[in-house]
């Protein structure tokens, strides 16, 4: 059921068994797993069902390191950041959990085998279209092919993309949570403090404030923070009544090791064959699944050379006219119509899409002589096309035949590629200096605001350079083209186009050693009996793959642990 925190009487105390703070991917997954149990579950959500600027402004903070949008990278309403999730999924591999030689703080206390049973259910939760992840199987099903590389140093991998209409956890699971009798979702409920016993070893309640002003508390036997990497750290650091450095922060680790998949154009390939197919590395359909391939150093090679993981997405830059055609509105409309027909879904504004495609298909008629008994082009059109090279004719094609016809032509004969940009997304090495701290400024509810000091290190630079060098050697050897690495070998700066991947991770890292991690292998905060953390803030390393599937798998594992250990 849903309730409104603004209607809870001031200074009231709400009692529950499990209190989940946050309703993003982790919070909702956890709450769903607890439906129907003889336990009362309360989910506290800061926002409501839609974006609200005032609530979102509670996220505002400073970025004092590498450029990072502290507020825009997350969303503060029911469903959390899944409300603008890109839907890209891939489970992590064994090596993602293992320590790397020469990389301090790398390695997880759990192994892939510990998480493996949860990946398939996590894929169902995330609505991933296919349970298949093996490259060979996708290559067998796919008309497109990956680069044929001759060694095992660089490999292709496949990510699946959840259809846009299925991405938002809030939309997907709202009805299920509304019907759940033992789960109450309190909207407009902002947690501002975690209260503990005198020893600071057991959480007793959380203090809740709403924007209109009423405040109350929620007491529970178990608390789970699921508010994302920045807010989890913020809440722990701000809860300093019993522990002056904040909860779980006895070793000054809360907020440290902030990580994201930094992305930038790491290199550019001049292709040997400008008409080579890049389809495998572009978003495309294989059966009912949307997939996209990427390149990476192989896991064996990463372990052998002590490299962190990375994703290299080859992004072809087509000739101007071709590029415009590929992304034209009429082609998008046609794709949308075909997809909706195939899936039996309705599309808003279907008529508009039909008209747009029809107009585009009729482009060629503008160049037929009106009044002729059959369509015959003007003499100057015939002359121009007859006297053109293939390249010139292709340049004129969108204007003469329309975007849809040109797209069909390109599909079969290949579009001319000017260059291939390598969009590089890196797993950054664990870095204690990359961190979230509190500032003196406060938000509307009196919570200290955060400063995010996102940092990359020389290890990251070396990692990218080495990985791109390996890729350059491989594609050169395979005759695919010549690679120019754009990332400078030395120097303090990073490329101007560097951006975060909006994958916020690592501020409450997992370790069996309380001196190296904030939470233990069960996601419980070291030194506390009943305070847990769900979400990617517990990731000790950030892997090369996207985090959502893994954080959902971890939330399922945590749910099972709570079910096993809690008695009604």
């Amino acid at each position: 059921m849903f309730d409104d925190a603004r209607s809870v009487p001031p200074q009231a105390r709400v009692e529950t068994d499990i209190c989940i703070v946050g309703s993003g991917a982790a919070g909702i997954t956890l709450a769903r797993e607890l439906i129907g149990l003889p336990l009362r579950v309360t989910v506290l959500e800061s926002g409501a069902f839609e974006y609200d600027g005032e609530t979102q402004a509670l996220y505002d903070g400073d970025s004092v390191g590498l450029p990072y949008s502290v507020s825009a990278s997350r969303l503060r309403f029911f469903g959390g950041t899944t409300n603008h999730w890109g839907g890209i999924c891939r489970p992590w591999e064994d090596a993602d959990f293992e320590a790397r030689d020469g990389i301090r703080f790398s390695g997880w206390p759990i192994r892939k085998a510990d998480l493996a049973p949860y990946y398939t259910p996590a894929a169902r939760v995330c609505r991933v279209p296919s349970p298949e992840w093996e490259l060979d199987e996708w290559v067998r099903r796919d008309r497109a092919a990956p680069f044929a590389l001759s060694s095992d140093r660089i490999v292709s991998r496949v990510t699946q993309i959840v259809p846009r209409s299925m991405r938002g956890f809030g939309k997907n699971y709202r009805e299920e949570l509304r019907r759940a009798r033992n789960v109450a979702v309190l909207l407009h409920a902002n947690v501002t403090n975690i209260e503990t016993d005198e020893a600071g070893a057991t959480a007793t309640s959380v203090r809740v404030a709403t924007l209109p002003g009423n405040q109350f508390s929620v007491g529970a036997r178990v608390f789970v923070l699921a508010t994302g990497a920045i807010e989890n750290a913020r809440l722990l650091l701000a809860s300093n009544e019993r522990r002056p450095r904040g909860l779980g922060n006895q070793h000054d680790l809360v907020g440290r090791f902030f990580a994201d998949h930094a992305r930038f154009i790491g290199g550019v390939i001049a292709p040997s064959n400008p008409r080579m197919s890049m389809r495998f590395y572009e978003v495309h359909s294989v059966g009912r699944a949307m997939v996209r391939g990427y390149l990476a150093t192989s896991k064996q090679w990463q372990l052998a050379e002590g490299l962190m993981d990375l994703q290299i997405r080859p992004e072809p830059v087509y000739e101007r006219h071709m590029d415009r055609t590929i992304t034209s509105p009429s082609v998008s409309s046609l794709k949308l119509m075909l997809r909706s027909i195939r899936r039996g879904e309705t599309v808003p504004g279907f008529g508009q899409h039909v008209t747009r495609v029809a107009a585009d298909l009729g482009t060629w008629q503008r160049f037929a002589i009106p009044g002729a008994p059959v369509p015959v082009p003007y003499p100057e059109v015939v002359r121009e096309m007859a006297g053109s090279t293939r390249r010139e004719a292709e340049r004129l094609m969108p204007a003469l035949a329309g975007d849809v016809a040109t797209r069909a032509y390109l599909e079969y004969f290949g579009a001319r590629i000017d260059s291939i940009l390598l969009s590089t997304r890196i797993e950054q090495a664990p870095n204690p200096d990359s961190r979230v701290t509190l500032t003196g400024a406060r938000d509307r509810l009196g919570m200290p605001r955060v400063a995010l000091d996102w940092r990359l290190s020389d290890i990251d630079r070396r990692n990218v350079r080495r990985s791109l060098e390996l890729l350059g050697a491989e594609i050169g050897h395979a005759g695919i083209g010549r690679l120019k690495i754009l990332l400078a070998q030395d120097g303090p700066g990073w490329p101007d186009d560097l951006d975060g991947g909006h994958h916020l991770m690592g501020t409450t890292r997992m370790s069996d050693d309380p001196k190296q991690g904030v939470v233990d292998r069960h996601c419980r905060i070291h030194g506390m009996s009943n305070l847990f953390v769900a979400g990617s803030s517990v990731f000790p390393t950030s892997g090369g793959g996207t985090p959502t599937l893994t954080l959902v798998a971890l939330a399922l594992r945590l749910a099972e642990y709570l079910k096993r250990t809690m008695r009604p």
């Binding site: 006219h321 415009r324 008209t355 747009r356 495609v357 029809a358 107009a359 585009d360 298909l361 009729g362 482009t363 008629q365 503008r366 160049f367 037929a368 002589i369 009106p370 009044g371 002729a372 008994p373 059959v374 369509p375 015959v376 003007y378 003499p379 100057e380 059109v381 121009e384 010139e392 340049r395 004129l396 969108p398 204007a399 003469l400």
Partner: protein
Amino acid sequence: MPRRLAAWVIDVVVLTALIFAGASALAALLGPTIRFSPEAATLASTVTVDTSRVALSALVSTSLSGAYFVIPWVVLGASPGQLLLNIQVHGEAGGGALPPGRAIARWVLLLPPFGAVAALAVGAPSLSGLVWGSAPAWYLILLLTTVRSPMRQGLHDRIARSTVRPRAGENA
């Protein structure tokens, strides 16, 4: 029936060639209707269409088309293709060639569909795209109604009150 179809194909090919030649002559005299600038900054300016010239082309080609069919039907009782294959267009009641009004009606029903769609494309591209399929559909209707009629009178013949027969002493 095969001879009628063959005559139609001959007429269409000859008329198309004439119209193409007419458009070439116009282009030589007045400059091209379509201009190409492959290196233009925007796609819209890669190929530009002079709409006043399109109107002139439409006028010239429609006039040529009308003249090609209507005059021979009224004067000789057959279009050039029909003359070549020894068939004639009569009034429904038999006897002589079609009077001008019925010849024009027959031409209107037979010729302009594709041409009209092409003209529409300049002014209302989306409408043109939607109605493009109607031109082949119209010809299919004419063909089917002709084949199914005992007198081989298609819809256009029935409306124009015309029949197509072999010349005297021939079997169509």
